[in-house]
Assembly symmetry: C2
Homo-oligomer: 416 residues x 2
Amino acid sequence: MRQSELFTKTLKEAPKDEVSVNAKFLIRGGFVYKNSAGIYSYLPIGWRVIQKIAGIIREEMNAIGGEEMFMPAMVEKKYLDASGRWDVEIGFEAKGKKEKAANFVLGWTHEEVLAEIASKYISSYEDMPFAAYQIQTKFRNEPRAKSGLLRGREFMMKDLYSFHTSEEDLFRYYDEVKKAYLKIFKRCGLNAIYTTAAGGDFTVSNTHEFQVETAAGEDEVILCRLCGFSENKEIAEHKAGGRCPGCEGGVLEKIKGVEVGNIFPLGTKYSEAFNLKFTTRDGGKEHVVMGSYGIGIGRVMGTIVEVYHDEKGIIWPETVAPFRAHLLQIGEATEDLKKKTSEIYNKLLKVGVEVLYDDREGVSAGEKFADADLLGIPYRLVMSEKTVVQDKVEVKKRDEEKAKLMKLDDLLKLIA
Amino acid sequence: MRQSELFTKTLKEAPKDEVSVNAKFLIRGGFVYKNSAGIYSYLPIGWRVIQKIAGIIREEMNAIGGEEMFMPAMVEKKYLDASGRWDVEIGFEAKGKKEKAANFVLGWTHEEVLAEIASKYISSYEDMPFAAYQIQTKFRNEPRAKSGLLRGREFMMKDLYSFHTSEEDLFRYYDEVKKAYLKIFKRCGLNAIYTTAAGGDFTVSNTHEFQVETAAGEDEVILCRLCGFSENKEIAEHKAGGRCPGCEGGVLEKIKGVEVGNIFPLGTKYSEAFNLKFTTRDGGKEHVVMGSYGIGIGRVMGTIVEVYHDEKGIIWPETVAPFRAHLLQIGEATEDLKKKTSEIYNKLLKVGVEVLYDDREGVSAGEKFADADLLGIPYRLVMSEKTVVQDKVEVKKRDEEKAKLMKLDDLLKLIA
């Protein structure tokens, strides 16, 4: 798209109350806008990043048989009463303007809703296993929401739920989801560490988190870099500096991490609450065994920025970048330069390259370069009087220092 | 996808409290699930329909320069205080579990939020015009929510907002949006009537609605079928039976309609509330002129069902159908039949035809035919011992009576 048509602009300064790196760059770049504490709008180029991440997640969820659906944000009291979670403090209540008492909680998770839905469709062991997921806004009244997209009160999440006839089958699928998650994070450019954690409000047994190491992380993790043994410090029985219990020779470290995903073996907690039973092969009745699996999509976006940036701005991995190429027209906007740059823009679009075309006039080359560094699009393509004379494009990757002049054909081979 | 893997099933009966045709068929087919009054989950095949409709809307919004973004559902009190809409009764309030007073309303529209965001990016007349839209869940505390997807308390909506330097430019764009809307509804199979209506909480001048004629409609419209003159009865100055004021010879009728979209010339109401001004070409300061434009996506889905059904079930238009073809394997599931049907299934997938494959065993032909009629997928393809012998497929369109036997190659020419 043409940058002159984008309604957002880059800002020289981030709001003073934003302390996190991700919020500073994302706000300055016009990716997000802060409406309230922990509540952000996704502006057009930020929404493109969210859609890229969501696209990767959808592919991997579909690959393990996940069926996409969409549940309500307003979850009626009856659901939370059944599971005993109505009073959980993380929830926001909702009610009509003239009503006295709240009858809804804003969905912070959907085990109850899907357990009830599933109870209408599950009758026999033959109806399982299956798994369903949604990509949807979640609401949690976080007491401290000061880390930009890392901890939101309203945030986008992918939540998957699976239904099984036995714990054994649950753990077979649990392992499939684990692999899919590691693949998702890798495709997003993140090295996620599979970490044992406590259950919280979801389950009584241990659960697992996917932690990404960064100084911005709010979690502490006890990690062995040799074998990958990893425990959330909240439950860790071992200490930093001690010997790794998982391998010979490893020494445990304490690192900071962001929890980008988590998986929960729920067992029969919710199927008991909703009388979700099935007829077994030999005619008996048993409770369905459930699992639930979350990924914070906005949080993944924020974590990527924490991991991939320098002092000038963001360095998006190619898989999640809002555009693949940033085409800059610099110097005097002669008719010839405008024509040549437009030709390249149209050629790139034609071969399917997503490109942001900085066609703004009256903006200095220095400003355009600074904006390109801030926005962090992988390939910067510069057109100027100099490159036009040589019939070439100046190409620089965001994460490299050196630019080089290339013929259009060679450029297409590189990025198309 | 294979029907045996779909976690939903068709139901023989609709819930007794559902009186509308759309809710009855959509629930029986497993497209939606009712969680609370006016609050539905979209189940996997229903979510596919929503995604089809949303895809059409996105294409047409992008074609008129709309930039997609995503705003919060939780709208802080400060926004509604600025516009004087905090106390509007349609809103649901939200608050933390331990908080005394609500500080948020669940977004039932987003003029305020986007006006504030725009105020950070608009400074000069050169920054306009532009338009931004989102596809998002909206919340309205409707007193009567008994028409299935036609009137929800939580529902999916596309809302577009435009920003202009003058009323003249607003009305130029307003007309572009009108054309885009008519195109969207037509692509969804709906004949929408452009109808003059009152402003309500949004604006002081007249606005326009897009009404689809159906007995299920809750609105009354005074219409001239000759020239298309149309007024919502709430503001109509003319009566049914009278002469059309718009043409010679037309006689006005009163019809029932569903409002699937609406467009509002907002003027400066929200730019005044948020001090959204711009510097004019000659250095003055003026308020930005805004427009807003909505389409109820769930309501479009419900309306399509009201318009396209028979006594057996839904008849989806091809553009919004959850699948293009419904492949039924009937009769004894011999190895040969299963192999041949699977081959056709894989061939269809390979050439890009979306197909639901009813591979269920132990389900009678009668049940499969009834399910196919209920689900309403445009092409029904039947494979049985009889068709295998002839090396053909039995093909029937949902809206036609007669089936015919076709060679696979001819079928591909027809639907691929």
